[in-house]
């Protein structure tokens, strides 16, 4: 079984659309994350979330919002997509400050 899974793997959409990326982990971890990897492969944290606290990176536009229906899922909603949102988005999970395990990534292309 895949530890951290994401859907879809590829997402192509037009500017102005609203889209969601889903993430699920079956590791029983208490914290989940979203990272963005830009075209230069630089990885940057967007959000971290457990059942007590949502930490938002201050540079993330409020068009991005995480939604967690339960402990094993953390979805990423993006409103009014812009060209600059094109990137690879990775979901990850960890138990407390333990190592983070990453999903396979979702390549978002905004045209």
């Amino acid at each position: 079984d895949t530890a951290v899974s994401q859907t879809p793997k590829y997402l192509v959409t037009q500017m102005g659309n609203d889209k969601s990326i889903k993430c699920e982990q079956n590791l029983g971890h208490d914290t989940m994350y979203w990272y963005k990897q830009d075209s230069k492969k630089f990885l940057k944290i967007m959000f971290s979330y457990n059942n007590k606290e949502l930490i938002i990176n201050e540079t993330v536009p409020n068009r991005f919002s995480p939604k967690s229906p339960d402990k094993a899922h953390l979805n990423l909603h993006i409103n009014s997509l812009e060209l600059g949102d094109s990137a690879v988005y990775f979901c990850a999970s960890s138990q407390e400050r333990g190592p983070q395990y990453f999903g396979p990534g979702t390549r978002l292309t905004v045209t």
């Binding site: 630089f42 971290s48 990775f90 990850a92 400050r97 190592p99």
Partner: protein, 112 residues
């Protein structure tokens, strides 16, 4: 603010040669340190981690890393590189907020 520096953007080694990838971190308290590897089109795979204790840590695929507090370094090493090791390598640290701060990555090319 926390930061992780990987001074080498690109390293090329011959297959069978030894490898050292450099990483410097900045964090006042004891950091949690990690090395991840990313193959083209893939996600990130954890190679090894350092939390405390023995400063030399062993990881998967024959990799090891040494934590040196005096130099704020956590360099990754492998005694003999295989062609399948060609990938992007990321050093990362975790602070109290659990979020990972990544270095900019080092692209490893392996020559036959």
């Amino acid at each position: 603010a926390q930061s992780v520096t990987q001074p080498d953007i690109h390293i090329t080694v011959s297959e069978g040669a030894s490898l050292e990838l450099r990483c410097n971190y900045s964090y006042g308290a004891t950091p949690y340190l990690f090395w991840y590897v990313q193959s083209p089109g893939q996600g990130l795979q954890l190679l090894l981690k350092y939390f405390s204790g023995d400063t030399l840590v062993q990881g998967i695929k024959g990799f090891e890393a040494e934590f040196k507090r005096s130099q704020s370094s956590f360099n990754l090493r492998k005694p003999s590189v295989h062609w399948s090791d060609a990938a992007e390598y990321f050093c990362a640290q975790s602070g109290s907020a659990r979020q990972l701060t990544f270095g900019s990555g080092t692209q490893l090319t392996v020559l036959p």
